[in-house]
Symmetry: C2
Subunit: 378 residues, 2 copies
């Protein structure tokens, strides 16, 4: 049994690579897509569903869990795994992204970021030390450092200043968690906006500090696909090859493929789960908007080749009915299906990389998911 | 294999009785509680969940399914069983109750009742022949006649006039479905408000027409528990002993016990499913309001003896968190638990009747569910 943090590379294909990351709650085959379980549940699914769809690792949100039910309560109840009944690996973000995107009144200072709860307006401080303590209480297998996610369009002066603070925060996070604590890994996050030299500077600073893995943050924040791919192609090689590389908040099929092609190992996004709740379903024949009238009398499964319970049991007509009637079962069946699709797509991608035919697989998937598809959807 | 409609009585205890009703989709052990699946789904649950909790028969609502997705569409897609992936017995109501309770502008005439859709305001007519045709399209195993559910407080003159119409409608329903059509059974509904002689008149008229089973309608409409029990005790013996007896819309544990004690075989109610979504959970130790602060740190299962997935997997603290956070999983776990409780309670009741100790079982349950409990909750 490998110690947590062990990362073994398997066969690669071009820059794309396969690997296996060991965590305190088991191994994760990479490249991997991580379903988002914001508040201690992947919305509408239970742990049995997650096992059925072969989810290997899920994500929890520090901001949400800190506010409700509270990280100290979760610790008292045995940690997030026990609390939510999920025995597989969990990655938690630092809460920074939510603070910057959800919270209205926020103040950034050297100490950390002060923000208002979206639940009751109460004021809170997230410092580097605080977000580490919270994630230690949650007991996640992979923790993320506190960073400032620079808004799209920020100028060079703002981005430089922000990056310097992000690096100082990263160093304080590492100091607060020198390693070893219950096998919890700590990943650094490369920022630097859309300035390539700042991205390089950020990566070099994080490498000097030393982390168990490295993420690219601040992408998929409103830029064009071309801009994102440009930074992705440039910044990914700056991350050490022997450590897992994580592209944060990216989840459109086309972007996962671009990420893998650049050498990324881990992804997370609310896209498959949020789209499920909006009636947008992913199949290997393309996206299906289940509310469309054309499915009203459609007695065929959404995807006859899909092993998920929704496709094995129900017709598109029934899925449409549930969606139109706003039935609770609609959210669950749609979520189960979309995450099954993402799970299978990633398994196929891993196999394609192992077989040295990743470019062909990517082209095949891109034909089904053309460029006009939304990057992330609300 | 018995033909649909066969009803075999087992051991009884006082007026309480056990039995087995054969339908075209299998046998139902009575007394039975039927979960309500209004729009082609028991809210938040899938058929696998229903099998897990040993649901033997579920209810569908004609009014809702007629409006959406439409009974003709359901017929085209192979009937309600196939549409919703449930291979067990289904009972459908006539739609009358919903028309009288949900629909604002409604007009009663000899022909039937004209009403406005709650979805788009469109005007529709439910005649006796129409509700039979709809239920034939749905393909339910047990169909109900169209009746007028007299509002609580209606005077004798109104009730007499309404009963006469209800009886004429019942006769037209029987004529529209003389029997045999795909094994679909047809039940009559005793009305007559809170006038015992009118109840007797209604029962005699229905018996003369002849149905596969007989229901008591127009109870649990706002009357006191004493009034309901009075009518229940008086009217149940008017129903033939060799046919299943169904008490409509009643579901509080105390009322199920009173119904069984009077000789009722079948019940339905939204209470366990609706209460689940409101965070009120049933256990053999009494009702639990899961949102209460006392459960915030409670690491114990809701009911350690309950075999449901929620009790076997999660703590009360987690169930509370899901409820407070309005997570979709909350509705499902709570519903799964409440229906499991009702399923087990009814199984225990059947066993108590077989063992000749029903009175003791009833007293035991009444101690846990005292009289101040709400009869039906919104």
């Amino acid at each position: 049994m490998n110690v947590p943090g062990t990362f073994t590379l398997g066969p690669g294909d071009g820059n794309a690579r396969t690997g296996c990351l060991t965590t305190a709650h088991g191994d994760v085959e990479t490249p991997i897509f991580m379903p988002v379980g914001t508040q201690g549940t992947v919305k509408s699914l239970c742990p049995t569903d997650l096992h059925d769809l072969k989810a290997q690792i899920i994500l929890g949100n520090t901001y949400h869990l800190y506010l409700r039910p509270g990280d100290e309560l979760v610790a008292k109840l045995g940690g997030l795994h026990r609390f939510m009944g999920w025995d597989g690996p969990i990655l938690t973000d630092s809460g920074g992204f939510q603070v910057f995107s959800l919270s209205g009144l926020r103040q950034i200072a050297e100490e950390g970021v002060t923000f208002s709860s979206h639940i009751d307006g109460s004021r809170h401080l997230f410092s580097p030390e605080k977000v580490i303590a919270i994630q230690q209480n949650l007991g996640s297998d992979i923790m993320m450092v506190l960073d400032e996610c620079v808004p799209y369009g920020a100028d060079r002066a703002y981005t430089e200043k922000s990056l310097a603070l992000t690096t100082r925060w990263a160093r304080r996070c590492r100091q607060a968690h020198p390693g070893g604590h219950r096998g919890q890994l700590l990943f650094g996050i490369v920022q630097g906006g859309f300035f390539k030299d700042l991205r390089a500077e950020s990566a070099a600073q994080l490498l000097e500090i030393g982390f168990d893995g490295y993420a690219l943050g601040g992408l998929s924040v409103g830029e064009s696909r071309e801009e994102m791919y440009d930074i992705l192609g440039d910044a990914t090689p700056l991350l050490p090859a022997d450590r897992p590389r994580y592209l944060m908040g990216v989840g459109a099929p086309r972007d996962l493929l671009a990420g893998m092609a650049a050498g990324i190992d881990m992804f997370d996004c609310v896209l498959p789960t949020r789209n499920a709740r909006n009636g947008t379903l992913f199949t290997f024949q393309g996206k299906v908007n289940i509310k469309r009238a054309e499915y009203r009398e459609d007695d065929t499964p959404l995807d006859p080749t899909c092993p998920c319970y929704a496709c094995q049991t129900f017709s598109k007509a029934y899925l449409r009915h549930l969606y139109v009637a706003r039935e609770l079962l609609s959210y669950r069946l749609n979520t189960l299906h979309n995450l099954t699709f993402f799970s299978i797509m990633m398994e196929r991608a891993r196999q394609a990389i192992r077989d040295g035919r990743f470019a062909a697989f990517r082209a095949e998937m891109e034909a089904v998911y053309p460029t006009d598809e939304e990057q992330t959807e609300e």
